[in-house]
């Protein structure tokens, strides 16, 4: 691909367990706030675990402007559209000017889509019978619904797609959106991810015994699994020259990304970590960077016994001795694992780290596993002047994506 353009990020929006918006999220990351608590979105009494990174007190009508109907929008649709409005407002593109609509697209990573509403339909069906159940609850079950609603609400006419590669979907959406702009298929993109909490996903991870019954403890020797979370994370991507021409503020740049697969196992990573290694190497190659250029790694860091040791090995394999001097943290310890949204949410984390000059910590890691021997920033957030951040997303099925973000200095640069 001809890289005759630099692609920058000019707007951010999020809803997650520790941030009702980006400003709140940045403060929480810096303070090391834990958003993992008892779930009250649905009854967890029959489950083995009861905690998660739920977005508490979400009121769609307070987050979505009144001109947009929320009728028949799933929780995922509502969260992602609320984050979209925040990102566009942040980018000084809301209300969206008519001239942007034709060449603006949307790429979203997702997972559970409208499953929560579908579950509610079946609850109603079992209680009241088919004739008394509102089947419109099923109309948003498909994962692409959130991108559909974003596009139709904003009357976008550019490319639209949804990735469903589990926990790497949000990261892949960012890379793909960058490619669409580089290829001239879109002039500006909304890219990100969304994952709502729901009973089926919660049950599935419980059945796999992948969930810690307390809070997740990435890289800790007593870690016992991940904490499930929910989030929407939306970023506005555009070419640097376009951003400069309209006087936009600029959070940073997507320098490159890599996508690989393990072809190994449905839920376990390749123990040799070759998929993760190749993902980071592909991202470095795409960025034209050397291993020595990376200042901070936002790890996948799920806190499952196998992920953390495998990811650590992969980082050692890619960076050699330098692995020991690169801070690595898992912000999932704060906002939990947001699956389809994770790569995009952690993209926002990476950009906030670059613009605000800090490294967010890995909380709940008290005694690192001897096999996890890197600098996991366990003492709390750290001041740091970062130039390049690498963010890993390694998903079930061996779906690996790494995105590399760069600091932007010049007209419009955001400083935290």
């Amino acid at each position: 691909m001809k890289k005759n353009k630099r692609i920058v990020i000019t707007g951010l929006g999020t809803k997650n367990a520790i941030g009702g918006d980006v400003a709140q999220f940045a403060a929480a990351l810096r303070q090391g706030v834990c958003g993992i608590s008892e779930i009250d979105l649905f009854d967890t009494s029959e489950f083995r675990t009861h905690k998660g990174g739920q977005i508490k007190n979400f009121d769609p009508r307070r987050s979505i402007p009144g001109e947009f109907s929320i009728k028949r929008m799933s929780r995922a649709d509502q969260l992602s559209f609320a984050a979209t409005v925040e990102a566009l407002t942040d980018a000084d593109l809301y209300p969206l000017p008519e001239s942007y609509k034709e060449n603006m697209g949307v790429a979203i990573g997702g997972g559970s889509g409208g499953l929560f509403e579908a579950e509610n339909f079946y609850v109603e069906l079992l209680k009241k019978g088919l004739d008394r159940s509102r089947f419109s609850r099923l109309s948003t079950i498909y994962c692409a619904s959130s991108a559909d609603r974003i596009a139709s609400n904003l009357e976008l006419l550019g490319p639209k797609t949804t990735f469903m590669t589990a926990c790497s979907a949000g990261a892949t959406a960012l890379g793909y959106a960058r490619d669409l702009i580089l290829n001239g298929q879109a002039s500006i993109m909304l890219a990100g991810g969304v994952e709502p909490m729901c009973r089926i996903t919660y049950a599935a991870f419980n059945a796999l015994k992948s969930v810690d019954d307390d809070v997740c403890r990435p890289f800790d020797k007593t870690r016992a699994g991940l904490s499930l979370g929910e989030a929407a994370a939306i970023l506005v991507l555009e070419p640097l020259e376009g951003a400069l021409a309209r006087g936009a503020k600029i959070y940073g740049e997507i320098l490159g990304y890599g996508v690989t697969c393990d072809s190994f196992h449905m839920t376990a990573p390749d123990e040799k970590a070759s998929g993760a290694v190749r993902s980071m190497q592909a991202a470095l190659k795409d960025s034209g960077l050397a291993a020595s250029d990376i200042d901070y790694i936002n790890a996948h860091g799920t806190a499952t016994p196998v992920n953390d040791v495998t990811e650590t090995k992969a980082i050692r394999d890619v960076f050699g001795k330098r692995a020991y001097s690169i801070p690595v943290s898992s912000t999932k310890s704060m906002h939990a694992h947001t699956l389809g949204a994770a790569g995009a949410l952690e993209g926002i984390v990476s950009l906030l780290a670059l613009t605000h000059g800090f490294i967010p910590p890995t909380i709940h890691c008290v005694t690192p596993d001897p096999d996890c021997d890197l600098d996991y920033v366990i003492e709390g957030s750290r001041k740091a002047d970062l130039r390049v951040v690498l963010s890993n997303s390694f998903a079930f099925g061996g779906n690996n994506t790494t995105v590399i973000f760069g600091k932007y200095e010049g007209q419009g640069a955001v400083h935290g």
């Binding site: 109907s69 929320i70 009728k71 028949r72 004739d131 008394r132 509102r134 089947f135 419109s136 109309s139």
Partner: protein, 91 residues
Amino acid sequence: MTRQDIEREVRDIFLRAFEIENPEMDVNLREAYGFDSIDAIELLLEIEKFLGSELTQEEKKQAMDIRTMKQIIDYIEMLAAKRKTPPEKNK
């Protein structure tokens, strides 16, 4: 059940189920409020709940031509009257 009772209930259904506040009586609901075919089917379920009895296939077919609030209220009034006066054969 008066016509006012029916109107109050229909307005409540519209607000609760379709997010449509105080629809006008004589406007085309699809054109004015985006009331679509999924809404129409769910409105029939709500009407069944309101009347406390199921609609026959014939009655559901009669609803196909409804376009306005006024027609919905007329329709429910007709259904309610039918239920108050059982057909001859059931006497």
